[in-house]
């Protein structure tokens, strides 16, 4: 069985990413050229799953964000913070040679566990994902994510509430 290292923050000096091929050139290019730089700018953290030779097999980029609800009716927003603090899982890509093993799901579950931890220590009420195309949206929906506007087929932003993740984990325990 394929053996992989558990998720760790990208280490540009150690992790090999030249050959990374997810089939989505923009995501491959971003990992090869920008991931290391970005960490220094601190806009997003990059987490990777690598093989035994430190070759990156999957990566996710994660940043803090806020969900702005100011367009909702006043009485709905009252009493809760606006924006709602959330985690943005802005990128998720898996190398095609490792497709269908559950690597993308494993990395997502790792990020969701991070959302729970953040929610306990500060506040993180949801995880938002930005699907790169409609096929990716369908993948996120299969994992339980909800499109912000379900009836709009062009909608590519989806969310999962931290309370749902917590309730689901409690049920399975």
């Amino acid at each position: 069985m394929t053996e992989l290292r558990r998720p760790t923050p990208l280490d540009p000096g150690r992790h090999r990413r030249e050959q990374f091929d997810s089939g989505e050139p923009i995501l491959d290019e971003w990992l090869r050229r920008y991931a290391g730089q970005n960490r220094r700018r601190d806009t997003a953290a990059t987490w990777v799953i690598a093989d035994t030779d430190d070759v990156v097999v999957a990566y996710a980029s994660v940043a803090m964000t806020g969900i702005d609800r100011s367009s909702a009716p006043m009485e709905l927003i009252k009493g809760a913070p606006n924006p709602i603090p959330a985690l943005l899982l802005g990128r998720l890509a898996v190398d095609r040679n490792y497709a269908n093993l559950g690597v993308g799901t494993a990395l997502t579950l790792y990020v969701l566990a991070t959302a729970i931890e953040l929610n306990e220590k500060a506040a993180c009420r949801a995880t938002v994902v930005s699907a790169i195309n409609p096929a990716a949206r369908a993948w996120w929906e299969r994992l339980g994510f909800h499109p912000f506007q379900p009836d709009d087929t062009a909608e590519l932003d989806l969310y999962l509430l931290t309370s749902e993740i917590e309730a689901t984990l409690r049920r399975l325990r």
């Binding site: 969900i67 609800r69 909702a72 579950l109 994992l143 339980g144 749902e164 689901t168 049920r171």
Partner: protein
């Protein structure tokens, strides 16, 4: 024999985007495109797509439409719900193992 300058032959019908550009920016784009062995159109589209993806993936604020903001606010108010699809994903055994 026909010689093709295009990077790839797309089977998808392509759309057109018209943009205004001042001569200095245009010259800059042409030089950069030539240095990248791309035509100006391909160069601009590739660079802009990379930037667009970055903007979306690193938004510090996610603005919702009125409809979406209303539905999301209502979801926040509801008691915590078990998510069956997520539960199924958590139960599914991965086809790889962690190196521990």
């Amino acid at each position: 024999m026909l010689y093709c300058h295009c990077e790839y032959v797309s089977t998808v019908k392509e759309d057109r985007l018209q943009i205004r550009v001042n001569p200095a920016d245009k010259a800059l784009l042409e030089r950069a495109a030539a240095a990248s062995h791309l035509n100006v159109s391909s160069f601009v589209v590739q660079a802009a797509a990379l930037k667009a993806e970055e903007v979306l993936a690193e938004r510090s604020s996610i603005r919702l439409s009125q409809e979406a903001a209303t539905a999301f606010s209502e979801a926040l108010e509801r008691p915590a719900q078990v998510n069956d699809r997520l539960a199924a994903a958590l139960r599914r055994a991965p086809k790889f193992s962690w190196l521990d």
